[in-house]
């Protein structure tokens, strides 16, 4: 196996991992920073969400790249038999989905003041 082949194999599942990770950090982060952002700028949460949505989408991009390179194997839908490309496709979907969840949380932090109880 050459290095070029190994590289996409290593990261084909990046989207599956990065999306949920970014979302988890966003959830805990805004929560933990609510007190702080109430006293200073009200935009802390929104900025963090924007950054983390990009992180989730980066997962999608890496997985999409792995799909394009074939991720080491062919994948035909009905038969199966290309697990890496398959996982890479899941990564593409997962990154987008979690970016959307983060975007919805961004909307929440724009609309609701961190001071409101």
């Amino acid at each position: 196996m050459t290095a070029a082949e190994r590289h996409p194999k290593l990261l084909y599942w990046a989207g599956v991992a990065l999306g949920p990770l970014a979302w988890g950090i966003n959830l805990q982060g805004i929560y933990a920073l609510a007190h702080f952002s109430c006293e200073t700028t009200k935009l802390t949460g929104a900025i963090m969400s924007a950054v983390l949505a990009v992180v989730a989408l980066a997962g999608t991009a890496i997985s999409a790249r792995a799909v394009r390179r074939g991720a080491g194997a062919e994948w035909t839908d009905a038969q199966g038999g290309g697990p890496r490309t398959f996982m890479a496709w899941l990564g593409v979907g997962s990154g987008v989905l979690f970016a959307l969840v983060i975007a919805n949380q961004l909307a929440a932090s724009l609309m609701i003041s961190p001071c409101l109880r």
């Binding site: 599956v16 999306g19 949920p20 979302w23 988890g24 959830l27 805004i30 929560y31 609510a34 949460g45 994948w75 839908d77 009905a78 038969q79 199966g80 038999g81 290309g82 697990p83 890496r84 398959f86 996982m87 496709w89 899941l90 979907g93 997962s94 989905l97 979690f98 959307l100 969840v101 919805n104 949380q105 909307a107 929440a108 932090s109 609309m111 609701i112 003041s113 961190p114 001071c115 409101l116 109880r117």
Partner: protein, 637 residues
């Protein structure tokens, strides 16, 4: 590798047909007699016991539900006292969640997953036996306590400080908390077994994208169990410690906080809902493919949904705490995640609808239950979107609206698929068919009864009826809808009586099923019904996601496994390439003895902290007995 198997050993490539079957049967069979039965490590034997026990608890929990519906059928009734009612609703919730819903799904997995992935036994079969005994003892512990009037009465959520020593000085909350520990141990053990079975014991060629959807669902569920249940373990342990040795976790006068309990409980409690629902979706996918006569559309979409739902379920727990006075922005974040979980759920539903759209549906009972599932579950999902909204939730939280919502989700999303699954896999498990006529009665009684029982509760909640009240005053305008709901509950209960009769009648005398009565596509149908102790005479090789539809006449297999000892084929994680021929444990009495020692330890420790001291040595001894090599052939290689 330097170690090679003994070259003189007899392998399955040297035998054929009946001779091969007979030899494997002798190796893998559960020993006869009572002792043999107690020693069994066969996933099918343990799985059957697990299923039967879980359904017994369903029956008990159902009887409690009926008692509650009798009490609430009219205002100011005295059929049950407040004390009894509180015990009963707590027992109903605890039994249904911890002793029925989670175990029954795991039980089906214990039985089916090894067959569906084409192997001979589950990974860690002794742990599996141990898990069953723990579940059984924990369930009996709870119910015997209830019979002795020490049944828990603080709700299945046991909020502190109501469940603290100060406000409930009896042993009732201890019984609840320790029952949790029992069932958690059982559930965690099964989860690890399922994960390893799916990761390592799949038939050669069953790559990640050829795993049957039910198995995928159980894999995701097992991960949820592994990451959700430690939270309730910490919670129940700290509650017992507070009550037994005066720790101050939840004592607000000493720095503790009641909301810590709620966070810990719901961090487990919300994934719990998906631990129950995701296996249901797996059953739906399995049944749907068979009866729509085509593969489920959108295999990758469904798996993406399962995985996304699994992750998201860990970020929803605060929507159970919207009215506890948390910062509003924090609550809003959980609205965001809770709303978005509708997207993966919706995608799954659309895939199933498309499958039915294109398929040629064969209307047998399992399919009816799947159709019922779609109708009911979608309604429950939509009311779930409503309770995810903070302002709406402040009104409907802790009312009958929520009771209606989660029964639509749990009964619609898990029990309907489950009953469908009973009809679907009964022929495989017993070798006999259930009656189709009774099946139809069963479905229509369940469908009508369920909706009549639970739909009115939405309205009851909106017109102000709170949950967990043992009665209500006559001037509250709730009587008519409650009576209607109780009537529906009676019809719903009747449907389960029909199921019970159907099973009882056909268990021994039903029509013979044959290997594959539904012409289904997954591997469990490639062996006889019921399967032999070794499951498969030779391990199948998988070349397609629907192997039996690809070729229904001949099965590609591998040869070369031992026929002198229990041997499994391990394959690689992603590609399912064969790696090793690993030994699988023999029957053993030690799992039962370990479970007994653990039970003594657990029950002792709600009465005295010293149980930790005198309870540990027997556990250590039994565990050493369990793992010490028994001198059998596979151990000594």
């Amino acid at each position: 590798m330097t170690v090679r198997a003994d070259e003189r050993e007899l392998r399955d490539d040297a035998l054929n047909g009946l001779e091969l079957s007979a030899r494997l049967d002798r190796i893998w069979r559960t020993p006869s007699g009572l002792l043999g039965a107690l020693m069994s490590v066969d996933h099918k034997v343990v799985g059957r016991r697990y299923i039967a026990t879980a359904f017994a608890f369903l029956l008990l929990g159902g009887i409690l539900a009926i008692l509650m519906r009798i009490q609430l059928a009219g205002p100011e009734q005295t059929f049950l006292s407040a004390d009894k009612y509180n015990q009963i609703f707590t027992m109903h919730g605890s039994t249904m969640m911890f002793l029925f819903a989670v175990p029954v799904m795991e039980a089906f997995a214990v039985y089916l997953v090894p067959l569906m992935v084409g192997t001979r036994n589950i990974a860690f079969p002794r742990l599996n036996a141990f898990s069953y005994w723990m579940f059984l003892f924990g369930g009996c512990f709870l119910w015997i306590s209830f019979a002795l009037n020490v049944g828990p009465d603080v709700g299945w959520f046991a909020y502190v400080p109501l469940s603290s020593l100060q406000y409930t000085p009896t042993k009732r909350p201890d019984v609840w908390a320790q029952m949790i520990t029992f069932t958690e141990v059982a559930a965690l053990a099964v989860s690890v077994e399922i994960v390893v079975t799916v990761f390592k014991l799949r038939a050669p060629g069953m790559t990640l994208d050829r795993i049957p959807l039910f198995v995928w669902a159980m894999l995701v569920t097992s991960f949820l169990v592994m990451f959700a249940m430690p939270s309730i373990m910490v919670a129940s342990t700290s509650l017992i410690l507070d009550r037994l040795v005066n720790t101050r976790f939840y004592d607000s006068s000493s720095g503790g906080h009641p909301l810590l309990w709620q966070h810990l409980f719901w961090f487990f409690g919300h994934p719990e809902v998906y631990i129950i629902f995701i296996p249901g979706t797996g059953m739906v996918s399995a049944i749907l493919a068979t009866f729509a006569r085509r593969p489920v559309i959108g295999y990758p979409v469904i798996i993406l949904s399962l995985i996304a739902t699994g992750f998201l379920s860990f970020g929803l727990w605060v929507h159970h705490m919207f009215v506890t006075g948390l910062p509003q922005l924090g609550a809003g974040l959980f609205t965001a995640s809770s709303m978005l979980i509708a997207v993966p759920s919706g995608l799954q539903i659309f895939c199933w609808l498309a499958t039915l759209w294109d398929g040629r549906p064969v209307y047998r009972t399992p399919l009816l239950f799947v159709i019922g599932f779609i109708v009911i579950f979608v309604l429950g999902g939509l009311s779930g979107v409503m309770v995810a909204s903070v302002p709406i939730d402040t009104q409907v939280h802790d009312t009958y609206f929520v009771v209606a919502h989660f029964h639509y989700v749990l009964i619609g999303g898990a029990v309907f698929p489950l009953v469908g699954a009973v009809y679907y896999w009964f022929p495989k498990i017993t070798g006999r068919m259930l009656s189709e006529r009774l099946g139809r009665w069963n479905f229509w009684l369940a469908f009508v009864g369920f909706n009549v029982a639970f739909f009115p509760m939405h309205i009851l909640g909106l017109i102000g009826m709170p949950r967990r009240v043992y009665t209500y005053t006559a001037d509250m305008d709730w009587a008519h809808l409650n009576l209607l709901s109780s009537g529906g509950a009676a019809i719903f209960a009747l449907s389960f009586a029909v199921l019970l009769v159907n099973v009882m009648i056909n268990l021994r005398s039903g029509e013979l099923a044959g290997d594959n009565p539904w012409d289904a596509s997954t591997l469990e149908w490639a062996t006889s019904s019921p399967p032999p102790p070794q499951n498969f005479d030779r391990i199948p090789v998988v070349k397609h996601r629907d192997p039996l539809w690809l070729d229904s006449a001949s099965l590609p297999v591998v040869a070369g496994l031992s026929v002198e000892r229990r041997e499994l084929l391990l394959t690689s994680l992603a590609e399912a390439e064969p790696q090793t021929r690993e030994a699988s444990p023999e029957p053993s009495i030690w799992p039962l003895l370990t479970a007994i020692a653990t039970t003594v330890f657990f029950i002792g420790s709600i009465f005295t902290p010293w149980a930790v001291l005198w309870g540990t040595p027997p556990m250590a001894v039994t565990l050493i007995g369990w793992f010490w090599p028994g001198g059998s052939k596979e151990d000594e290689e």
